[in-house]
């Protein structure tokens, strides 16, 4: 596979303009279903056999990144295993938000879904960097962060609110950037990106009241 991710011609405004035109030229499909997605939550979905042959062939890897060689990530798994993750221009990269490969750093944690290659590497379809999914209690609310307590030990965790990125999910409503309905003392599920530097979390989504 080629690595055109850093080619400005492939990512620039002209490219987007072209793709917009292409996207709007497509067929319109109307209606709702409940099949679910492949987005950040999917990194935590229980592995189960899929009816779709493309998905059932997927390989899965997790661990800490020990080295980055070009577009290959060396990953030390939590159970002593080693993975080589090949990024391509078709690999989606999530680090708090949809981003690019140059945002990945040595020391980051990683979940990856992809396809096993004959040379032992995994060609990644999707990579989630530093993703965490915590069940917490809200202990305090400030302008730019939530103070959270996590687990039976009530470990204090600071969840940073990131403008234009952090969303809240309330029962029966769409994801919204309005976090004002989060209450102190509430149980909350926090989906976010761990920050190795200060052990805090940047919140992608806080789910309350479900």
């Amino acid at each position: 596979m080629s690595h055109r991710q850093n080619d400005p011609g492939r990512r620039g405004l002209d490219r987007r303009r072209f793709l917009t035109t292409a996207a709007l030229g497509g067929a319109t499909i109307v209606g709702a279903s409940a099949l679910g997605g492949l987005d950040a939550d999917a990194a935590f979905a229980a592995p189960m056999p899929s009816l779709d042959p493309a998905i059932s062939r997927s390989a899965f890897a997790e661990g800490r990144i020990t080295q980055i060689k070009g577009s290959v990530l060396e990953v030390a798994g939590s159970h002593g295993d080693q993975h080589l993750i090949q990024l391509t221009n078709a690999t989606s990269i999530w680090k708090l938000r949809t981003t690019t490969a140059d945002q990945i750093q040595v020391g980051d944690g990683l979940y990856a879904r992809g396809v096993d290659m004959p040379d032992g590497t995994i060609a990644a379809d999707a990579v989630w960097v530093n993703i965490v999914n915590l069940y917490c209690t809200v202990k305090g609310i400030a302008k730019d962060r939530l103070h959270l307590a996590h687990g039976a030990q009530d470990h204090a965790v600071v969840g940073h609110i990131v403008a234009d990125t952090t969303t809240a999910s309330y029962l029966g409503g769409a994801l919204t950037s309005d976090l004002s309905r989060v209450r102190i003392g509430q149980s909350a599920q926090i989906l976010g990106a761990w920050r190795p530097a200060d052990d805090a979390i940047d919140i992608a989504r806080v789910t309350v009241g479900h």
Binding site: A27, G31, A32, L35, A40, T91, I141, T176, G185
Partner: protein, 300 residues
């Protein structure tokens, strides 16, 4: 030292040590608590760490009994100060070698060692020093100046609450709730912003368009941008054709920029599949297989 402080210090320290000591010695969770402390590594054994924590609890209880029963003598105060110094040293060691470990200071489980842990240990040290200089028993002092004694006891209790995480739900959380009620929610005011990308993705993932395209889509969200009222979401995928084999494609979805599951229950999504190498539109009849993959009604 000020008589009221030194004479009443045995009472305050005694009660504090009685509570924390009893919690450690008789607590059912002491062994579990010990497993999270640095004691495990020092003693090389979780069981011994539990026993050590219980032994410290017993020592605290003994010192508490002495402080309460025979105040005005030197020894209980000195013993308290030694305990406080020991706690401080232990915390310093644990903080330096295993900052994530629990301190195990009081009866309940708590998080990593922080400022409050050191403040508690320092207060025990200071309280012990004050108690050692007591001249009269605390009950004599309390009888002599009941008003001041009550005020001192309340102040000491507030101070201990402030440095103890166990009691946060009693005072700190209600205080924070009150602040939000009085001064407004610091997070208010973002209600009228644009629809977040996550909400567009949420709507997409509940659409028939997504269901129809899901056999082709392989990546998670790869890129997104807004253009003239549309939000375009780009995914990478693989399109397999019997004749031409598998080829990499871009799967593009275009949605109304303002749409979310709040505004529509039947999203209209434009879908197109673009060959990633040639940028040609790939003609795919996404709905071809949909009739055979109708979602069955849920039993309710």
């Amino acid at each position: 030292m000020i008589p009221i402080v030194s004479d009443l210090a045995p009472l305050v320290c005694g009660l504090l040590l009685a509570v924390t000591g009893a919690g450690k010695l008789f607590g059912r969770r002491t062994a579990q608590l010990a497993a999270n402390t640095v004691l495990v590594r020092v003693l090389n054994d979780g069981r011994r760490a539990g026993l050590a924590l219980r032994a410290v609890g017993a020592a605290e209880l003994a010192v508490a009994a002495a402080l309460l029963a025979v105040p005005g003598t030197l020894l209980p105060g000195v013993a308290t100060a030694v305990l406080g110094a020991g706690f401080t040293g232990y915390l310093g060691y644990a903080r330096a070698t295993a900052p994530e470990s629990s301190c195990g200071c009081s009866a309940k489980a708590e998080g990593p060692i922080g400022v409050r842990s050191f403040a508690r240990a320092g207060l025990v040290l200071l309280g012990g020093a004050a108690a050692a200089t007591a001249t009269d028993p605390w009950w004599t002092e309390a009888a002599r100046r009941p008003g001041w004694s009550a005020a001192f006891a309340v102040a000491a209790a507030l101070l201990l609450c402030a440095v103890s995480a166990d009691l946060d739900h009693v005072w700190l959380l209600p205080l924070r709730r009150l602040r939000i009620r009085l001064f407004g929610n610091p997070l208010a005011g973002a209600a009228d912003g644009p629809v977040p990308v996550a909400a567009s993705v949420e709507l997409l993932e509940q659409s028939v368009a997504w269901q129809a395209a899901s056999p082709i889509v392989r990546s998670a969200l790869l890129d997104h941008w807004d253009d003239e009222g549309w939000r375009v979401l780009r995914f990478a995928g693989v399109y397999e054709q019997a004749a031409r084999g598998a080829r990499p494609v871009n799967v593009l979805f275009a949605l109304d920029l303002g749409a979310s599951i709040d505004t529509t229950s039947s999203p209209a999504v434009r879908v197109s599949v673009i060959d990633d190498d040639t940028d040609e539109m790939v003609p795919v009849d996404l709905l071809a297989g949909m009739a055979t993959r109708q979602v069955l009604p849920m039993a309710t």
